[in-house]
């Protein structure tokens, strides 16, 4: 083990008192189009290898790219949702490098005139929102896919030419947790807005992280390393955590951080340098002469602004502030637009806003539990939002107990019968009338004279027994508050 690796985890924590990690992320998001960015081949996942190509994708002579209008609209939606400045005229540039998955020898990207700049993304951290600034969001095309096969590699070009946006944060994330949270926030936002399915297992959301450390209080950034291949929330956290510790160890041993690109290997839990310094990238960007500038006009922007829904971070704040939900419930509800929309529909159907917390409880425990058990998503719920709301009202106004409510929920979920109809048919309305409950309580005490005596001589634990007996006599319908009062009065303690 080298000296730099001997620094213990405790020392890493100590060093973090003096050293501050600085992290910037570059996230590639696949835009949910049917056809490719610059040509009409399809973008479906899992098709036979090399079956989704055309002369433009292959870079054959004479092929001319034409940009996909829907890709532009999706990118603009993200630009607007992140309050970015949108360039009325942005430009495509060629980024040159040689790699087997890049048939043209260059990638069409954007360079000094990107579509969006200076936006921000709101992260949910605990009960609060943390705003992270975005340097830019630019359009580009994906490369093909390399498959490692022993002494050779295999190339499948189905993914080549698929439209992407690259979202680049400012270097202002300060921990591995925040880096993972940034990815979650972006994942949530692009799914919320139908910009991308962002399925990480299909590579539709991929992340590179730039990591450096500097003395606290220092303004200048330290030398950064770039981590590639971190394609899950968990990986980004592990990879960044590991890289911060690696850099601290080097500094602690009196070494210097090399500017390099490192590839994260989740299985090994470590990273290794990817490219040597001699091959420092020289991409020779220049405006792509085949593609005219991308123009965005007022009409296009108007259409996007008009259809933009309330954003997840805004709803997260509103659920807490206006509806009194806990941060945990609010976070869970905005994790998916379908959940938040269902919840809003429940609240809208409920006669009072004060029911929001109850509605959230019923939805997140009973409804999601039942849906999970059947492997269904919220949008496939057999129970419409107003029905759940009506059931919660029956519990709130004392028509049925919470316990019966759960039974009614299960039956209504299964059969689709309205809750009130089930309650009436089964005759399970809660009994709150003392005049009806008093004789039941008398009967229970008379039938259990010995236990009554024991209770009266100090065996407090027996009280629950009597409550249970009253419930049994009433098939669970006795209002527990009324039953408890009557039992106390009649048992005399």
């Amino acid at each position: 083990m080298s000296a730099e690796q001997k620094l213990s985890e405790r020392s890493v924590a100590e060093m973090l008192l003096d050293w501050e990690p600085v992290i910037g992320l570059e996230v590639h998001v696949q835009l949910a189009t049917s056809s490719k960015a610059f040509s009409p081949s399809g973008t479906a996942f899992g098709e036979p290898p090399n079956s989704l190509t055309d002369p433009t994708v292959l870079g054959l002579p004479g092929a001319l790219p034409a940009f996909n209008r829907h890709a532009l609209e999706l990118a603009l939606r993200l630009g607007v949702a992140t309050s970015s400045q949108i360039r009325a005229k942005s430009r495509f540039a060629r980024k040159h490098y040689f790699y087997p998955d890049l048939p043209k020898g260059y990638q069409i990207s954007q360079y000094d005139e990107p579509l969006c700049e200076h936006g921000h993304l709101d992260l949910i951290v605990g009960a609060e929102l943390k705003r992270v600034r975005l340097q830019r969001i630019h359009l580009e095309e994906d490369a093909g896919k390399n498959l490692h096969a022993g002494t050779v590699s295999h190339v499948d070009l189905n993914r080549a030419g698929v439209p992407l946006v690259e979202v680049v944060s400012e270097p202002e994330l300060t921990s591995a947790e925040e880096a993972a949270e940034f990815m979650r926030a972006l994942h949530r936002l692009v799914r919320w807005l139908d910009i991308s399915e962002a399925d990480m297992e299909k590579g539709q959301l991929r992340c590179d992280a730039n990591v450096s450390i500097r003395m606290r209080g220092e303004d200048r950034l330290g030398t950064r390393t770039e981590l590639k291949n971190i394609n899950s929330f968990r990986f980004v956290q592990h990879a960044v955590e590991h890289e911060i510790a690696r850099q601290l160890r080097i500094i602690d041993a009196g070494g210097r951080i090399e500017r390099e690109t490192r590839l994260w290997d989740e299985t090994l839990g470590q990273s290794a340098p990817l490219r040597s310094k001699e091959e420092a990238n020289d991409y020779r960007y220049f405006p792509d002469p085949d593609l005219p500038p991308v123009m965005v006009d007022g009409g296009m922007m108007g259409g996007i602004l008009k259809t933009l829904p309330e954003l997840p971070a805004v709803r997260f704040a509103r659920y807490q502030k206006e509806l009194g939900l806990s941060p945990d419930d609010a976070r869970l509800l905005v994790s998916e637009r379908g959940l938040a929309d269902y919840f809003d529909a429940c609240v809208a159907a409920h006669p009072s806003q004060r029911g929001a917390r109850n509605l959230a409880n019923w939805m997140l425990t009973e409804l999601l539990g039942a849906l999970n058990a059947e492997g269904k998503s919220i949008t496939e719920s057999p129970m419409p939002a107003p029905t759940l709301s009506a059931l919660v009202v029956l519990v709130e106004n004392g028509t049925i107990s919470g316990k019966i409510g759960k039974e009614i929920f299960e039956e209504s979920f299964r059969t689709g019968e309205p809750p009130l109809a089930i309650v009436e048919r089964r005759g399970v309305q809660q009994i709150s009338d003392e005049a009806v409950l008093a004789p039941v309580v008398d009967k229970v005490i008379a039938a259990n004279a010995k236990q009554a005596k024991d209770y009266q001589s100090g065996k407090d634990g027996l009280f629950g027994f009597f409550v249970g007996q009253v419930m049994k006599e009433t098939q669970g319908r006795a209002n527990p508050v009324v039953a408890n009062d009557l039992l106390r009065k009649k048992l005399g303690r």
Partner: protein
Amino acid sequence: MADLSRTEVEQIALLARLHLEPAEIEAMGAELGAILAHFATLAAVDTTDVPAMTHATETQTLRADVVEPSLPVEDALSGLPAKARSGDLIVVPSIIPGHES
């Protein structure tokens, strides 16, 4: 404009993935120097008040998001030598450092 230096030619050759023999480097340095000299003539024109132009036309030419049939795999891969095919995949030297064949 002077000839390009040996280092400059080697750097350009590396970026273009071209192998040059020592004699070729010499000759290429002179040729590229002559080409750059021509651009130096163009660069001498005063363009202070001329806006940059990267495209002859700046008309929007967006394409509707409509899928059309792709090339048949056989056509797409027809330019490959037989040894560069494995089924319908393209075979290339290993991209993982240390695994080159």
